[in-house]
Amino acid sequence: MSFLHYWRAMWGIVGRELWRFVTQRERFISALVRPLVWLFVFAAGFRAALGLAITPPYETYILYEVYITPGLIGMIQLFNGMQSSLSMVYDREMGSMRILMVCPLPRWFLLLSKLLAGTGVSILQVYVFLAIAWFYDIHAPWQGYLWIMPTLLLSGLMLGALGLLLSSFIKQLENFAGVMNFVIFPMFFMSTALYPLWKMKESSVFLSKLAEYNPFSQAVEMIRFALYGQFDQQAFIYTLVAFLLFMAAAIVGYNPSKGMMVKKGGA
């Protein structure tokens, strides 16, 4: 198997996903509507209720809309990661996953390519969201728009790998909805996406600890710092390790010898 084979296969998988996304306008619009509603409605309502102190990476007082923008970027990637995994469960039920799994490439590579494809789609969504937010007077330094690209790649991979791991345990689409509720909402609300840790600590030290160790919080903080041209090393390492752990577990889950595939009787 040559390097060229891997390259072509990866582009085949990524290109297919991007093409599907671009041609499915409803999916594109609905992916944007969710964070925009949070930005235009929820943030406007919360602006008065929540006072924010000056904390890094911010050097001055900021509007609540500015604070939650990285959290909403994380939200886009979280939902996208779960949706990609949902599509894998669907593909598996419909059988089209089999075509991918019987091609002559290592399974870890195929899964990683699927993840990259999903992450690519989420990065597109994020930039469109940031463009709309710019017109809503949410501006970051220009270099921040470049710096977030690699962090979006890592956070997208981490959240996608989590979805992939979940999809390896789920047999039917109906079960996926339940798991989404148990994963997406706790992950999102128990994080620094909507409120800073110190604010949460005022209400509950326990919850703030959970939020601190939530990989989604770390991904959001990594994005937040990158958007202002700064590098949050701890958040980067935490997100990277979470990605590697989720990915390794997902590969085991999709392994025909060790994983859940045989137990579920589907591929």
Binding site: L4, R8, A9, I13, G95, V102, C103, M261, G265
Partner: protein
Amino acid sequence: MSSQTALSIENLTFSYGGKKALDQLGFSINSGECTLLLGPNGAGKSTLFSLITRLYDSHEGQIELCGFNVKQQTRQALAKLGVVFQQTTLDMDLSVMQNLRYHTSLHGLGRKVALQRIQQELERLNMYERRFEKIRQLNGGHRRRVEIARALLHKPALLLLDEPTVGLDVPSRLAIVEYVHQLVAEEKLAVLWASHLIDEIYPEDHLIVLHKGQIKAKGTVDEVLLNTGTTSIKDAFYSLTQGEQA
């Protein structure tokens, strides 16, 4: 093992939990042979296909594709394999061409070779004119043709067909049966074809009758008839599976 052996299976056993789905299976298929796999529902046909394609893994027995062990030399083995699954595995929202290009990229074919092979396979199936149509716009028979074309794009030595004619009208079904037999005769392709339909069997075909995870009969059509003391495949099948439907 002969160099012409496309598929070789020895002592293959597989269980779901404690329930045995396949029990000590053993057979081989040479290039230029079309082997029909007959068996009632639950006989183990789909499980066997999942093991050959390595969607499942067995701890007992071995499967070799063109001399490559499926478990130890998975990639080399899978490169020799073309598959048409029972369920349609095409992307409905993509065109015929996009579906086929996706497959060629998974098999590492370059653009030029891919386009040549796609044209060649689609023309043979009279589908080239429809290459830019979305799969959703095609009828069941045409979708199956696209799937067969796709399975042949990377020039496999063995073609696995898991009941590809189910749900098709008679002309579509006959066209596919004839085309596959033509491939076997002219291109020396090895075919393993799971089927419920006895009229899809040609006199020169080989048969494997699978029942409750065990091979009840194997050989040419004449050999199976001789061994069962029957005069038709239908009678032979009924006697081997005690009246259960294929």
